[in-house]
Amino acid sequence: MIEKLKSQIDSIVLGLFGIFVLAIIPVQISESSLSALGPRFFPYLLAGAIILLSAISIIKELFISSTANKDTPEDLADEKKPGYMSIGLTFISLLLWAFLVPVLGFVITTLLFVGVMMWITGNRNIVAISLTSILFTAATYYVFRIILQVFLPEGIFL
């Protein structure tokens, strides 16, 4: 039973999310008396549907399915350990880019970002890292800023 519940962690989380949405609707959305279906109707309907579908999935697994649910996160082949560290570092790098561009500027931040990302993905060739970072940053700056006239934050330099 515990194993089956563990395999349904996604449905449980979604069901709780649906309940959370139901709870915050009265706070987040004012009701309107002007239309037959007010602005709360669809959010209520959708939150209810999410709760119902999650409940069906849990009940199916607990009472109907004879084997553990196969829809658990993919297991990777033993010979390759999953690159969760790379994912975590990439996520942090993405956030850092968004925070640092207004401060350092597009050119410096993007140069650093591409270089760091190439390092994270396993590239250790300093020449390739330098060339790719510089060429990519220059090309995107030229295309977006000069040709397409899209404003790119300048920060302390460019």
Binding site: S35, F42, P73, V101, P102, I120, F151
Partner: protein, 505 residues
């Protein structure tokens, strides 16, 4: 009419007009393939360049950007799972799977053939039956839009594969996310939590970039894949008219779907491509192949979304009603040139109008040659090592998200949806239903509420329109038929077993 067509043909091949057309196609293809740069942005950016041009050259420059940009979205959709435009999201479902199998060349070839044929069919519709299609399109009101949206949402069952429950949950989540912002019927904020940036809701492009591109990059990093195709060489694939022949029915049918949907103001390429994709899957002999690398899927989606391009010009030229944001910019271009769209346009400026319509057909032909000559270079992207490609693609995702409205809010949205998409795919939740629901959900909600305001709360309004009734019946049939068909297919097997037992005693 024939003499005006001939005049139009002569004008198109005037040096300046043809040069503007070719430049538009080249620029459009680049803009369309870059995530975050929309066709609308491309058309709007080139609009000032048309001020000093003749009306024909100016319009064909912009139409070149429009058509090639719509096609260009499929290049990044196929190679990088990063649809350059929302209209190419359905293409990535099968196109990217083909890239992973080392068949990027076939997918790109199918994409260009289907796009061009879709564009040519919609161009012919524009030239010969524009007024009739415009009249049909104008008969769409809120009840018809609601029925169309529900029909469109029914395709979620198709794109969910075997995970229907999970697909439905994703669709509900997508529609819920689309409710964030100001309610367009009553004007009340919903789920803004006091943040100003949330009053405008979530823009589709950053969500697209996050759900498709960034989440796929996370997936690639987890798998430690060496390259997208896992190979170091592109398969040498021949793809000509012979290889195209088995898909002609899908392409033509999807093109017509694109024409009908495109002529209705307020719809667009994304809806047409998903409707075409679903129809192709429904009528296919091998529906289980869809989503795993079916060329039929690529053909349907691309023919559908390019079938929209000419059709959206129909209400714009005949009635002065823009079908979507791009045609609104094109309408602006016409007004700047001193041309007033509407029924009189064809009478007072016949040569210009026919030049534009013939030019539309020539744009698609030029697009074919430009794309065909570039395909083998594009296909090589799928074998570039991930240590070089992924950082570049991520960089483009970030810049593209920022470029949507020059705001870091969009960048954070893209990153957040990247994480959400990655987590959901880990638990085998399909992503496409969320995107479809985000596009169609608001249309369904607004149309439903507007219809009930018109009918003062009576649901009978949905059964008083032949068009709405047709779409409702189509929805019921498309959901019930696969179920009934599968039951009927099992029945002969059961009878067979019973007969065998009787004989055995």
């Amino acid at each position: 009419m024939l003499d005006q067509i001939l005049v139009g043909l002569l004008n198109v091949f005037n040096f300046h007009v043809f040069l503007a057309l070719v430049i538009g196609v080249a620029v459009g293809m680049v803009i369309g393939s870059l995530p975050g740069l929309s066709v609308t942005m491309g058309v709007a950016l080139l609009l000032p360049f048309t001020f000093g041009m003749s009306p024909e050259a100016g319009m064909l420059l912009l139409i070149g950007v429009y058509c090639a940009g719509t096609y260009g979205g499929s290049i990044s959709a196929i190679l990088l799972n990063t649809p350059g435009t929302a209209a190419s999201a359905a293409t990535s479902l099968d196109g990217y799977a083909l890239s992973r199998q080392g068949k990027a060349g076939s997918a790109l070839n199918m994409s260009i053939y289907a796009s061009v044929i879709g564009g040519l069919i919609s161009g012919v519709a524009l030239l010969f039956v524009a007024p009739q299609i415009a009249r049909f399109a104008l008969s769409f009101g809120p009840p018809e839009f609601f029925a169309l949206a529900i029909f469109g949402l029914s395709i979620i069952a198709g794109v969910s594969g075997n995970a229907l429950g999970k697909g439905l949950i994703m669709a509900c989540l997508g529609m819920l996310i689309a409710t964030v912002g100001i309610d367009s019927v009553d004007g009340f904020p919903r789920f803004t939590f006091g943040f100003d940036s949330l009053t405008s809701g979530f823009e589709l492009v950053p969500v697209l970039i996050g759900l498709f591109a960034i989440s796929e990059i996370f997936n690639q990093l987890e798998r430690r894949a060496k390259s997208i195709s896992g190979m170091n060489k592109v398969k040498n694939e021949k793809f000509g008219l012979k290889e195209l022949k088995p898909f002609r029915k899908t392409i033509v049918k999807s093109s017509f779907i694109g024409v009908i949907v495109g002529a209705i103001p307020g719809t667009g390429g994304a809806i047409a491509s998903f409707l075409s994709y679903n129809e192709a899957r429904r009528s296919s002999k091998n529906p289980s192949e869809f989503g795993k690398g079916s060329l039929d899927g690529v053909a349907a989606s691309e023919a559908g979304n390019n079938g929209v391009t000419g059709a959206t010009l129909i209400p714009m030229l005949t009635l002065g009603i823009p079908g979507d944001v791009v045609t609104a910019v094109l309408l602006g271009s016409l007004l700047i040139q001193g041309l007033r769209p509407g029924p009189d346009l064809f009478v007072n400026y016949g040569p210009i109008v026919y030049t534009v319509m013939i030019g539309f057909l020539v744009v698609n032909v030029v697009m074919f040659f430009v794309a065909k000559s570039s395909i083998k270079y594009f296909a090589k992207l799928s074998v570039i090592p991930n240590t070089i490609l992924l950082p570049i693609v991520l960089g483009l995702c970030l810049i593209g998200s920022f470029a949507v409205n020059n705001s870091f809010y969009s960048v954070f949205v893209a990153i957040a949806f990247g994480l959400i998409g990655y987590i959901f795919t880990k638990f085998k939740y399909p992503i496409a239903p969320m995107l479809i629901a985000m596009i169609l959900g608001p249309m369904a909600e607004n149309a439903l509420r507007q219809s009930l305001i018109i009918s003062q709360g009576s649901y009978k309004i949905f059964f008083q329109s032949p068009i709405a009734i047709t779409f409702i019946i189509l929805t019921i049939l498309s959901m019930a038929l696969p179920f009934i068909t599968s039951k009927l297919k099992k029945k002969p097997e059961v009878d067979h077993v019973i007969e065998a037992r009787k004989i055995g005693g």
